[in-house]
């Protein structure tokens, strides 16, 4: 079969054989002889390199943004820092007239309003998440998750508007008197029921953080493997017992992460809180009393700040708020990541 006369074609170009002619004469397919190729000319490497650097620059810009934020805050707060040092965060005297600034009332207000909002929001969010992932008929799932996400799309100022004219009157007329009579002995619900105050801020904040906590909790619950649920059911558990032992227990870390993420959001929330908290820099035990948060004082007084020390004190509050939210958010993401193993986080509205 093989032509022995042909040299061993190991590493050299062999003699071209005539192609099998019976296949080559398909009349329908007439390949034309090649002309000079349409694409000739040297290809420059420059556009590629330039594009690569432009994209890298965009990436650098993101990091630079963070640096810019830190820089602006640190530089702006220098005056106040040199004037008060660490005592700034321990004093409660906020007196622009005498140029005396202490941030304690705002820190107190931020913490109390945020914690109060979590107390209300966490059971509700987990309940909603559990319902949607474990109990809900499949057809309803999409609608319910869409509507809870819709809550996240409402702007803060609209929440505030509704809170002023709807929530606060309800609190003043019904809720606060009720709380005063039933739980007044705790000291948390004393004083005149203005409606406006820490309680209102806590409630409206709760409504605003529910979407975040519930959507992350939903993700975390979905990731729990099906065999965990089946194992508990196989032991004869009721559905609620299965949820408690097979799902919630497994998702604990992630749920805590979701809660902390909600806390991060609550800490930085400005408009709705400003509109209902009363804006009085006082530390009080009662939840009926007006208060003031770090974000609110910035919103209210930044443009009124006459004098450099005043402005610097406000910027220092902004710096503190920045650091606190960064740390809280980083902690939260770490916990959520440990459960979902780095699946891309959905855009947190």
């Amino acid at each position: 079969m093989s032509n022995q006369a042909l040299p061993r074609p190991r590493f050299s170009a062999p003699e071209p054989e005539h192609g099998p002619s019976e296949h080559g004469s398909k009349a329908a397919l007439k390949l034309e002889t090649r002309t000079t190729p349409l694409l000739h000319g040297k290809v420059s490497e420059i556009p590629d390199a330039a594009f690569g650097w432009a994209m890298r620059l965009c990436g650098v810009a993101v990091v630079a943004l963070l640096g810019l934020i830190v820089y602006q805050l640190v530089v702006g707060s220098q005056l106040s820092w040199h004037a008060f040092g660490w005592k700034f965060f321990g004093q409660s005297d906020w007196n622009p007239v005498e140029d005396q600034y202490g941030a304690l009332p705002f820190i107190f207000g931020t913490i109390v309003s945020s914690l109060l909002s979590l107390v209300i929001a966490v059971p509700l969010s987990i309940g909603v998440a559990v319902f949607i992932t474990e109990m809900c008929p499949v057809r309803l799932r999409g609608i319910l998750s869409f509507t809870t996400e819709l809550l996240a799309a409402i702007p803060s100022v609209v929440y505030g508007l509704w809170a002023i004219f709807v929530l606060v009157p309800v609190l003043r007329a019904y809720v606060q008197p009720f709380l005063a009579t039933t739980l007044g002995w705790t000291g948390l619900f004393s004083g005149p029921p203005y409606g406006i105050g820490m309680l209102a801020a806590g409630v409206i904040l709760a409504i605003m953080v529910i979407p975040i906590i519930s959507s992350i909790t939903r993700e975390v619950l979905t990731v729990v493997p099906q065999h965990q649920r089946e194992a508990v059911l196989a032991l004869g558990a009721t559905r609620w017992e299965m949820i408690r032992m097979g799902v919630l227990r497994n998702a604990r870390a992630g749920i805590v992460g979701a809660i902390i993420l909600g806390l991060g959001r609550a800490l930085g929330e400005t408009m709705a809180v400003t509109m209902v908290i009363g804006n009085r820099p006082e530390i009080a035990k009662s939840l009926f009393a007006p208060g003031y948060t770090m974000a609110s004082v910035l919103a209210n007084e930044f443009t009124e700040a006459t004098g450099d020390l005043y402005l610097s004190a406000l910027i220092e509050i902004g710096l503190a708020l920045f650091f606190v939210t960064i740390i809280v958010n980083a902690l939260a993401r770490l916990m959520v990541w440990s459960v979902t193993r780095g699946q891309p986080a959905r855009g947190i509205a």
Binding site: V60, L65, M135, V157, V158, T238, G318, G347
Partner: protein, 304 residues
């Protein structure tokens, strides 16, 4: 089968005693608990949906009566006079959002392209981490930064400053969603393009980005919707304005700012207009979010 004597009694046939599996009934307490918790869950859903419906109901109820042509075309009247509108605020918002988009969208998409095409390494991880950190910064703090960057330099409030603040908020969101959409494009598509002798930058823009277009647009629209309702960063950047302003270097009105100012004022007339403004704002934002959801469902994310 052993032969049996038909006369024998049944006792002669060997009887195998079959053990009875008796399943103890689930205790009443556990069953009740199960039903109670189901009820509690339904209750939480109702409690969460209640404010949602209440807000929308009040918006429509209180706001719809005040939306008329005058509202949409006139500027605010002096305190005490009835009438007037928020036309300047609606336009002002559009100007500020336009500036924000011009600054934020290209940078955001560029950062997203960096993350997906050039950033599958340590440097990309740093940018990714910083991006997520930026997403969590309170919007009022961003307002402070824009104030220092633009307002202090220019010695006046401006739409530009407001646009800068909102752009800073848009960039991390757009970068992350763009990255995710680009990563969904199969590597085979890029290889097909390289195989044809198409340069890398051309491949990235005309093939990879083009394939992921609908997803990238979704991400941009969601970032847009998020900043469209923001008030805090505008408080000391755009500052607000009761009159028309066509220059980008003067204080500018914005819908969200106007709602805030009117809501905390003591005038009933302004309260009425605040509701109307809020309704307009919500309609625009929710409309955008819903439109994006529908477009993504019906449009093809071809190639993904």
């Amino acid at each position: 089968m052993p032969e049996t004597n038909t006369n024998s009694t049944a006792a002669a046939i060997p009887q195998i005693k079959v053990p009875q599996f008796s399943v103890p009934p689930i205790s009443l307490r556990r069953r009740v608990m199960d039903h109670v918790m189901t009820g509690v869950s339904v209750l939480t859903v109702a409690l969460v949906l209640l404010p949602l419906f209440a807000i929308f109901a009040y918006l429509v109820f209180k706001g719809i009566g005040s939306i008329n042509l005058a509202f949409l075309t006139q500027t605010p009247k002096p305190v005490g006079e009835p009438g007037g509108g928020m036309a300047n605020a609606i336009v002002g918002s559009m100007v500020i959002l336009g500036i924000a988009s011009l600054l934020g969208v290209p940078l955001g998409i560029g950062a997203g392209i960096f993350l997906s095409e050039y950033g599958r390494n340590r440097y990309g991880d740093i940018v990714r981490f910083v991006s997520d950190v930026l997403n969590g910064v309170p919007s009022i703090v961003i307002g402070i930064v824009a104030y220092g960057l633009v307002v202090m330099r220019q010695k006046h409030f401006s739409a530009l400053a407001g646009g800068v603040a909102l752009a800073i908020m848009m960039i991390p969101t757009i970068a992350r969603t763009t990255e995710q959409m680009l990563l969904l494009v199969p590597q085979a598509i890029r290889e097909a393009s390289y195989g044809l002798g198409v340069s890398r930058w051309r491949t990235t823009l005309s093939i990879t980005l083009r394939t992921a277009t609908s997803g990238v647009i979704t991400g941009v629209m969601l970032a847009f919707a998020r900043v469209a309702g923001e008030t805090a960063p505008l408080l000391f950047t755009a500052f607000g304005n009761q009159f028309w302003n066509w220059k980008t270097d003067q204080p500018t009105a914005a819908l969200s700012l106007q709602i805030f100012t009117y809501a905390i004022s003591p005038f009933d007339e302004w309260h009425r207009q605040a509701w109307a403004g809020a309704l307009v704002l919500i309609v625009l934002i929710v409309g955008a979010v819903a439109a994006v959801r529908i477009a993504v469902k019906h449009g093809t994310l071809a190639g993904a």
